[in-house]
Symmetry: C2
């Protein structure tokens, strides 16, 4: 009897938890990812702000699944899917499947301004995080060298676009860098004179959260020295300024935390997509007309019973992955699949040191205890005991010493900094 | 009374220890480096083999020198030196000095075959280490995907060129990766079938060490499964093979640990250079004819009383830096400078897990105790208590679990792997 071949594209939260949930099923699973590691995205902003290393928040997928005998992991880049022939086209090969789970996630969206990307990197991958880290620390170095006061000011203005959890966490961390981490390291500049400006288009930060938590988050950020601009739309991003509402902010460091769109793989499916390119899936998360193809995680547009879409967060991807695994087992037993229901366990955001907000439905927390909850939840879901131990230690160290351990400016494309002739440190 | 301006170019062992040794001198020091961190090079091979993170072996220079009030650190790239005008040309500015210490170190030498560099990366910088890490782990991934047996074999052959301490340590670590770290992670390949071949042109490994220790090192490597080829010269390095002596080895992963040359800055000095481009300094480490300019570390060719040159190792750079600081203080007091005498404290090399060789003159060690000595010495000289703690923990973890914590394949230049159309994973 031939075992069904399950292919899972993507080793993030959705794909990885789906694979693990199928560990006892009589199937042969192939998990494909174009990276060799699973990335704990919620902590990416800590790599971007030099608090953690890339390897602290990543685990090699084949290592995580090493003991699961029915799964094989391969490194590959899926470019399109032929639903009729049940064939996945890889950049360098093909994969046939009986049942397919697509979990390739989301990437940045610049709202039609793709040209902003080079001046305002987003935060979805380790490479993004390292690029942001590089720019932030280079900015302080450049300010130290700069004698013109206006140019120096521009190097010390940091703009974060997007007031969701990522933007809030980035802005809080940047403010800590300026006011604590770098405090006595410079001779010509005073790092705490750096401005961190957080811009959000809606009327409050953390729009999906309850309004009182949004207000607490804003207050905590302001206590850290972050300038919060809500109801403000960014109309221009260049390599030397940002136009936000009526204001023009001279800045050399802009970080993008404002929009996501689905991975391009969805387009080859021929399935209905929403505005952000996500697949409008059936209630059981399958592609309409193709019950053997499932889409989960950030790539899927799943409607909840209240008409709101399931948010693009890790717990949702995990639940969808596990639910799909259950449905696949039901299919193997010729049972009908079940519709997916998202159980919102709550939302968290951390704001600098020992502060944050947390919403668990009936319980809402802010300040230190929210921060502690945030720490606990993230450690719990971080994969790998070694990673957990190292992250806990580094967090403890940072808490006591106010220091950051990963302040390297690295650049693999060439040796060191390449300052331009006119005195500006060239971005590459 | 004007304080003398000391400029130190280079924040490696030589420059950093010189700066620290001048902490009580009545001078104004500027330390320039084109990186923002001090790198503990002896442990670079551990970043290359995924045992440690870049930030574990690097410390931001301005952070290390934060408390020393007479020193200011700037990020800059020195391109040439005008000895007559006492002016350093930076890529984006100039620096005037009264006394200059040049400590810019060494880079790789390919013995006139610069074209080999792209196929055989060396190990001098963090970027080098990450590139090597990327290639090594990609090779296993490519082998897992490759169906042609000959091509698969080439992916599983790893060649290290150069049998000094760096080559020996790399070869030992690669063998551990193949035989321990990756053991159950693959389904189609058996990682322990990987061959690690170490090629040395002289008649034994570790040529500067006593012959009996060279023999022990070779024996320990062979116990790890490394194939050692001595008295063998490499005549060709391509992207698919290496010609070594009479043998042609099909391989996709070649690592260069064979030669160094001095940093190009030396050429602008107009001073006498040796064959490797190092400055032939006076006995007090100054440039002949320019008593206010000192050259230390790997950039200097210093003769010992026995006619042999001081080796390009960290302890030598440290001693030269501290000696130069003493001489500068003497100059400020109008005293004559003293000649430098290198005190060889011994040599160490580690060979995989719990093995190594150590030569402390009258005491020679091999095996487990040499490895323990190696650990102790390296931890002692690693800068930063936090770094020491994290490195100790990661080493302890790796020892117990046989695992490596930093197995990421990262590539900042583009997203993920870019496989070529013919099935080979493209190198970038």
């Amino acid at each position: 009897m031939n075992e069904k071949r399950i292919v899972i594209i993507g080793g993030g939260f959705g794909g990885l938890y789906a694979a693990k949930a199928l560990r006892r099923a009589p199937v042969r699973i192939t998990l494909v990812d174009r990276r060799n590691y699973h990335l704990f995205q919620p902590l990416l902003y800590q790599v971007a702000t030099a608090a953690l290393n890339p390897s602290d928040i990543a685990a090699p997928i084949r290592s995580v699944l090493r003991k699961q005998e029915n799964v094989s992991v391969i490194l590959g880049d899926a470019t399109s899917i032929d639903l009729d022939r049940k064939l996945i086209q890889l950049a360098d090969g093909q994969l046939a499947y009986d049942i397919l789970i697509i979990a390739t996630g989301a990437t940045h969206s610049y709202f039609g301004h793709a040209e902003w990307e080079q001046n305002a990197p987003g935060l979805k991958t380790i490479e993004d995080a390292l690029e942001i880290r590089r720019r932030v620390f280079l900015a302080f170095e450049a300010a130290e060298r700069e004698s013109d006061p206006e140019r120096q000011r521009a190097w010390l203005n940091f703009v974060v676009i997007g007031g969701g959890p990522t933007g809030v966490e980035l802005a809080g961390a940047l403010s800590e860098i300026a006011r604590q981490t770098m405090l006595r390291d410079f001779r010509r500049i005073n790092p705490s004179s750096a401005r961190v400006i957080l811009i959000e288009g809606m009327d409050r930060l953390l729009p999906p959260y309850p309004p009182d938590l949004s207000a607490k988050a804003a207050a905590q950020l302001q206590a850290l020295g972050v300038e919060v601009m809500t109801k403000t739309t960014v109309t221009r991003v260049t390599d030397h300024d940002v136009a936000a509402g009526e204001t023009i902010i001279p800045t050399r460091t802009v970080l993008w935390a404002a929009g996501v769109q689905a991975s391009p793989l969805a387009h080859s499916l021929g399935a209905p997509l929403d505005r952000a390119g996500r697949v409008l899936v059936a209630p059981d998360l399958s592609v309409p007309g193709h019950p053997e193809v499932f889409v989960i995680g950030d790539l899927a547009a799943v409607m909840q019973s209240d008409g709101k879409p399931v948010p693009g967060v890790a717990p949702a991807a995990i639940q969808e992955g596990e639910h799909t695994a259950k449905n696949i087992v039901r299919m193997l037993d010729d049972k009908p699949t079940l519709p997916f229901h998202y159980r919102d366990k709550g939302s968290l955001a951390t704001i600098g040191r020992a502060a944050g907000v947390a919403d668990f439905g009936r319980i809402r927390l802010s300040g230190f205890i929210a921060w502690a909850a945030w720490l606990g939840v993230h450690i719990f879901f971080l994969i790998g005991f070694r990673n957990r131990l190292l992250v806990i230690l580094q967090w403890a160290w940072a808490y006591v010493t106010f220091q950051r351990g990963a302040r390297l400016i690295t650049d693999p494309r060439s040796v060191g900094v390449s300052p331009a002739a006119d005195g500006r440190l060239a971005r590459r």
